[in-house]
Symmetry: C2
Subunit: 214 residues, 2 copies
Amino acid sequence: MRKFTIQDLTPTKNDFVKNKNIHWQKPKVSKEQRTKNKGHRPAVIWFTGLPGSGKTTISRELEEKLCDMGVHTYLLDGDNIRHGLCKDLGFSKKDRDENIRRIGEVAKLFVDAGIVVICAFASPYKEQRKMVRNLLSNGEFIEVFVKCPLEICIQRDPKGLYKKAFAGEIKGLTGLDDPYEKPESPEITLETDQLSIDECVNKILNFLKTKKFI
Amino acid sequence: MRKFTIQDLTPTKNDFVKNKNIHWQKPKVSKEQRTKNKGHRPAVIWFTGLPGSGKTTISRELEEKLCDMGVHTYLLDGDNIRHGLCKDLGFSKKDRDENIRRIGEVAKLFVDAGIVVICAFASPYKEQRKMVRNLLSNGEFIEVFVKCPLEICIQRDPKGLYKKAFAGEIKGLTGLDDPYEKPESPEITLETDQLSIDECVNKILNFLKTKKFI
């Protein structure tokens, strides 16, 4: 019977590496083991684009498709982040950066858990997205540029944000009076003024299949 | 073919509820669907106790056992939280509270993703643990009190924290010069000075089986 003993928890000369692990090493169950159990590889699918470009619509459609295929997904978006983990943050540049940093760290935990995590945030600054990419292993960050002309986003205005901005009720809206920095070399670009929702989703699914994520 | 249209994203009179959902409702794939796919119910197994009481040892052993049983688990502990999501936080009361708040919010996301999330943090204050419990649905928060007399924790001292505290190198160590508030009615109590590691793990597994989580 294994009893808790001082030796069990305190480093000794012969036991140094093993016991060091108790403090610093990764959890016993590794990302590799979890991935093996699931039959698909984890990744972060990171949607970026103007408000109204279609990030939410496509991400939810994609999640449903992947779920039907038996892929374990999780969707992070404003709904479950801004009302919870980041409810203490506002919309200053500093707070927006911290918002994306935390989302990146959470996405990394989900990837470590073996999950395909879908993130849908405007994330307008290149530096923010680069920071998240650098948190992850090579190839795990899939940047999806949801590309749509501003005038069409304004027409769609699903959350009424542009309307509020034009009425002077909100300031610093991405695309209007706050910059949106386009990705230079995203893994995937979706022109949502030209493609159907299904075409957008299929483009992502094809990428995931080609790269052997699913 | 479904094209993105203004109607697709903008509320109209007949379409109000559906389109409202795009903004505010939960992701299309629900916790219930994910749970159904997995064959087990999600939960937070929250270990609390003094430094050296055995939280890390038991949590890693438990994760391995659950993983072998095909249960999808994820372990949150100092290793993956303090170096990532909470690396901006120190050890003041305020920062410790914020640390636990963020962990609670992340645990909630993992539960929403259908996972059995294991959390191993001293979490010495009742209020902190109550706050996390309140984030979750009824029954989903399983508080495990890792109970061990202080003098035995000091003997074990796996991270050398007590040694440092006695040498005056660190201040505010839980159990010594910072309070540890014992849980009043934890779901599970493990007396790690009396039970073996296997007995501790089995006690948790039996609880999960009895409550039909696994």
